[in-house]
Amino acid sequence: MRDCIAEIAENRLICREGGIYSLTLRAPSISDGAAPGRFYEIRVGGEGGRFTLRRPFSVAFYDMDSITIRYNVVGEGTKWLSGMKAWDRLDVLGPLGNGWPVDKTKKTLLAGGSTGIFSVLGAAMELGSPVKAVLGFKTASLINSLDDFGAFGADVSVITDDGSSGRGGLITELLAEELAKGIYDRVFICGSTMMMKKCAETAAGFGAEAFVSLEERMGCGVGACMGCVAKIKADNENGWEYKRVCREGPVFRASEVVW
C-alpha cells in the first residue's frame, strides 16, 4: 500500500437522485496492486481539518495511472469530497484489503445492490466478457453505471424494488433464476448486509460458492486499530472470531460469516 497525492481527473455527479459521484484520480502507479474488491482510503477535509478518519471506497475500475471510485454522499466527509473539482488534489491511501477471488476458470455470477454495484463492477472488468451481473436498485431514478457494466462486456439484468423500471421485486429472485441454469461455480455479492445475507442463502441453495464484501466502520484501514471487525466462523470455543474487514477482508466466504 502507498499513500500518495493524486490529482482529480473527474468528480462527476452521475445520479442526481442518489447523490452518486464518479471520481477518477490520477497519479503515477496509483493503481499498482489494485484489484477488484480492494479499496482506497481518501483523506477528507484537508490537512489539519476536523475529519480524522479517512473514508474507505472500493475501487470500481482502474488503468495504469488512474483509479475510479463511485460514492454517494452520506455524511459530512463525502459531502466535502463531492465539492472537489478537477485538478484538485487528494491524499489517497491504498490499495487496501484482499479483493474478490477472481478466477477466470470458475464461472462467476455478479450480484450487486444499490452502491454495492461498484465493487462488483471491478470484478466485471477483470473477468471480462461474457459475464453475467444481476443488479438491484430501490427505484428507477437510482439506476446508474449500467453502461460501464456493458462496456466491460457484462450482460446485465436489473430489478427494482418498486417495479418502476424493468422488473419489480427483490434481487434474490433474479439471482435464483440465473443460478437455476446450473452453470455457475461462484457468486460475488455486494450490497446491504440484509441483501448479502439473503443472496448468500440463495446461492447456498443452489450449491454455488458465495463471496461477500463486508462493510464496517473503519479506523486506520491497515489492520492496526482493530476497529472494523466482523464475526467470522472459527474452530474455537466460541465457534467464531473477529476478523478485520480492512485486512482479512473486506471479501469473505459467505459461508464463514456469522450474520
Binding site: 478518519l53 491497515v222 476497529g227 471487525v229 466482523a230
Partner: protein, 314 residues
Amino acid sequence: MVTESGNKKITPESVGMSVEIAGITLKNPVITPSGTCGYGRDYLDFWSPEQLGAIAVKAVSVKPRDGNPPPRIAEIPSGVLNSIGLENPGVHKFISDELPWLKSIGATVIANVVGYTDDDYAECVGILDGTGVDMIELNISCPNVKGTPISASAERTEALTKRIKGVTKKPVIVKLSPNVTSITDIAKAAEAGGADALSLINTVMGMRINIKTRRPMLKNITGGMSGPAVFPLAVRMVWQTSNAVNIPIIGGGGITTAEDAVEMMMAGADAVSCGTAMFSDPSAPLKIIEGLRRWCSDNGVGSVRELTGSVVTG
C-alpha cells in the same frame, strides 16, 4: 537553517534526539501508543518499529480476549471515539509470534498489560519478565471494559504498582486515565508504589448518538476519545503531573505534528506518543521525528531533552 548555541552550530542532524526513560535509552522521543499500531507490522510500508523511540504494543492479557462487538469506532470533530475492548491474542501468542521479530529488528518494546484482577496483572507481568520486552506498561485506565478502572483509585493504583514491582525487574510504566477527579493524586500514588515512569493520557470517555436511529454510534454505548480534540486536555494533565512527581513522563493525546510534540515536552513530557494521527497520516511518527530535529535546529535547541518542562509560567 543553522543556528548557534554557545559556540557550536546546530543542524538538524546534530540535534541530540535520544531520551532516557527509567534507565532505558530511546533513540528518539517518539513512541506509538498501545492500541494504535498493533504489534508493529501493520505500518511497515510507512515505518518500522526500530525507527521509533519505542513501540507500545497492543495490550496483552494472560488469556486471549475477543474485545467488544462492532461498531467499535466513530468520528468526533477532530478526533475519534473508540471502544475496541482490548482484543488481543493473549500474552503467550504475543511472546511466540510477535516479540521475536520485534527484537530481531532492534525495536524498543513496551508491553502494555491488562487484566481483570490484580492477580491477572501479576501473572501476565510475571510471564513477560523473562522475555526480551524492554518495559512494562500497566494499562489500568482503559475506559472500554466493565467495572471501574484501577486508575480511578489512588489506593488501588499504589497497591497494584507495588505488587507488580515485586514480580519484575523490568521498568514499570503506569498508564493513567484522564477520567479522574485529580490526576496528580493518582500520579503520586503510582510513584509511591514504585512506578519508574508514567504515561498519560489514556482516552477520554465520551459518547455519540446517531440522531436518525437514536442509537449510540458505538455498540458499547460509550468509548474513549483521542485525536487533536483532546490535545489541550493532555497538555494540561502532563503539566500538572510533571509538577507533582519526579519520575519521567510519556505524554500523549492528540499529538499530530512536531510542534505538538514540542509543546507536550515543554509541558513536562520526557517522551511523546503519537497514535491517532496515524489514522490520518500513516507516516506521522517519522514526520514528527524529522520535524523535531528541524524545530530544534531552527530554534537553537541542541537536544530534545532541553525541551522537557521548559514552559515558562512565571
